[in-house]
Symmetry: D3
Subunit: 208 residues, 6 copies
């Protein structure tokens, strides 16, 4: 009986040559709208599905007293094409992640340590604010402006996840004041005073 | 021969009772993540697939000297579920559509009249600027900050289209200064001076 | 204070090396089901997001007194992967765009000049007809047969948009009478008279 | 040991109250762009996932000597939302399924009995023809005109499947000649002779 | 000047009546293939976007010495339609989450505390195993069998996220031994000995 | 008149150079998350859209008395990117397709010959069983464990279709007992007895 069971091998082995349960990124091959090309299955190992970069706290000895460490498909090849990614947020006391959007993804934040005040603004200009404690979760719908602030006196840590392996990140202050966006155009399209624009450009390194 | 051809009726008529080539919005029924519920096919007429609201120029006698007239699924029931929508932009001389994003769609702009300076900012803080003349087209990838300015001395008109029947619209100045976003939080998450924030809130009607 | 703000640079600059807010077509690289491969971000310029081909009226000195000028991903590299495209329709008096389908997209038409009689046919063989004037919009749900006819005595111009960057175009008369579709098979699958088929093949250049 | 294993019950039973592995159609509730509303899980039985309508040969005693029997979501509630459906084609000797499209799906045909000549036409007016024998498979890409003809002297049977639970069906002859499409408009948009149009309308019952 | 700026209100306020940046679940209304119906925007508050259920450790005083606490759309209304969800895994020393699949989602696991041995099996029967320490991330591609085991001597905690707001969960042992799956059919479709099946059914409460 | 009609050629021929109604797989070029790269349209022939592999009965002279013959995108290049595929199941009397899942697709089965007992298990551990006769159809929702057994005394044949051109296939027994899954881990994550695991590994060739 054992003998004949082993005959199953030849019958159902058809799919082995072309297994595509996953598409680990091959960074050297072409990229398309759906993501990176796939590494050949034979070269894929368990290491491709793991990422150790979120294990180290980011350096928060800086002005925003915060750090973001990403695990997107550009850092973590195993995520390619799977529609999910992650990042860690470290916020020292007083730390803040400035207003930003993810153009192509919704975000789900889990507070692992400390307390965080988070918020987003909807298209009808309503601000949704929540003070989150350890273990609380908050979702930020796709493409909307949002922020995170350490709301306690001790370091805060959050794990954030995205509904895309390439969520993108557009930080408002950087888009305006760390770019080559000409000051007159910024003034014209935001109503900010030119002096305010120049002051922040000087700080952040914007040109134009 | 004519007689028997007509027998085809009974054979291939199967799909008639449940035609769902389209899903015209029934605004009175529940809405889900994919859009509005569908009007019963028997009640659908040609009028459901047409919309006359873009035929009238918007009133540009205002501070931005500009007007936006939408044809989204909330205005145009026939678009529901079809992944496309439109709007018209009227820009008087000096007119501007301030910095904004569409959280759920890419935008394609066609200049119908006049000249428009348009731009968007990518996640790596590069500003892509183009001066467009009549007939020129420009695309603004999903979720990124962008703007349009009349670049000529005469009125400009553009038709814009979106890759969603519900593209959304988040205007930066309104999100910040016409909302209930508390001033201290704006300052903390944008680095703008409190005085600047208060000045624009006074103008636009923001609270908090 | 200005000094320390500039420290943000190093913290949040992580995404810069792999920006994929967009995927401008690289026509020389492989194409996949989701579109063309992406041009390297460093080589992308503002020109990739603009297209000037719709600014010139098509030549309508022909039998259909009409012209179609496309801005699909094959013509406009910046559209690749964004799920949207456009075309301009020029219809001289008496002009007509013959019955056709877009296999992979819904279409949204905006009349920019003149008057257009447009219509589509649903799966249950209902014909939806509308006479559209300047500024009117009409939607043609995905994959259904539709047409446009100049309904006035003066030239008409329309901008059409699609819910795909590669909408496709199948013109009924060309599929039947300008192809290598053997006449006996056309007769058998359409019930048209062979004489009618041969007459139109002679005109349009069909073989078989 | 057995005792404690049973404690797993309470731990991992969380998802039971809201199982949505499937969404069996509730034909009495609202329909949306993504399909029918879901029947309550408690009322779902194995019968909802099976359909017996394809077991009976269609009646081919008619002019096209053919019959189509569908198993779409409108007939088979268990398919709702799953992106797949089926139909059976019966073709007596000389039988033909006239030129048609499925606006929202690709089709995969498997010949179960007999021989079938099938073909489709692409956007560049190339006709792809194949004579298929028992067991052969052919795919018809989404939205393109295609047909099937019995290619042998005996009855043919095929099972066709679609990449949508609501593929739609637009039969060219019915759209033109069994509808309310006014004859002058048909002539204008197809170049067919009016006499040809009237002849087929008389047969198929078209008006206008 | 302030006066006229405020005129912007009327111009760009068009989208306010129909904001659909999000679709918070209304559990009392119909469910469709794309998710729950949306709560009326006017009734949505910040609380709808937050969830506190992951803040409390699950009770691991059980046979698997483990607990799973979900934040799916059925528990967390704000996730509806956004394509993302989460859960927390608590694993006491010796704890294990048995072999299982998520039929509709990929999973991303972040180890928050302790050490976890995790693995999944691909379609070609390759087992991908990783021992993960605090901060390590691992991805489990959609629909594949996988498991998690506490790999250290102290409690382990992981946050897992999914690429769907309704990922589903099929636990192998429960599907086989806690269901009404008749023992002869289990034996026939798994090759397990009937005695083994009956033993585990007795423990887990299976019938049939 | 004939003369001028032929002028249409130049007008509407724009899309010919870049026809992408389909994307026939080029197995030698890179693969991405959305499928294989496309063969150049000029090299595509009708043969690319047909597949003859399902015409031959599989060899059922084996222990499971069954055979599966696939027509996935890896075997049938024309399916690439179209979201559909097929397979044939041959079940001799007493034949069985063991418990398995398709990680990325729903399945639709049509019984062509004989009688089949089929079933699937949902996330809430309900078993849905049906005995199907010739012509009956059954659907297996995405990612759930299911099986097929010959329910009659004669050979059974079924055509199955999938909602993906790359549905995947994970056979439970092979994942556990024909893989390199270490026995202690199997025992720990399934509660099976080590003796049972070793017995089946000996039969199926598993290691570890």
């Amino acid at each position: 009986m054992i003998l004949i069971i082993s005959l199953i091998f030849s019958l159902l082995s058809f799919s082995h040559a072309s297994v595509l349960d996953f598409c680990v990124a091959d960074y050297a091959a072409p990229i398309g709208p759906a993501g990176y090309s796939c590494k050949k299955p034979a070269k894929v190992t368990a290491d491709d599905f793991a990422f150790s970069g979120l294990g180290v706290a980011g350096n928060t000895s800086n002005i925003i007293k915060a750090a973001v460490t990403p695990a997107f498909d550009a850092q973590f090849a195993g995520l390619n094409g799977l529609g999910i990614s992650a990042a860690r947020l470290d916020l020292a006391p007083g730390g803040v992640i400035p207003l930003h959007t993810h153009p192509g993804a919704s975000e789900l934040l889990v507070v692992v340590q400390g307390s965080i005040l988070a918020g987003f603004i909807s298209s009808d200009n309503t601000v949704y604010l929540k003070t989150l404690k350890k273990g609380d979760v908050m979702v930020f719908p796709q493409g909307l402006l949002h922020f995170q602030i350490n709301a306690g006196g001790s370091p805060a840590l959050a794990i954030v996840n995205f509904s895309s392996s390439n969520p993108g990140l557009q930080i408002l202050d950087f888009a305006l004041f760390k770019s080559n966006f000409p000051t007159p155009l910024i003034v014209e399209t935001t109503f900010l005073d030119a002096a305010q624009v120049k002051k922040l450009k000087a700080v952040l390194g914007g040109t134009g």
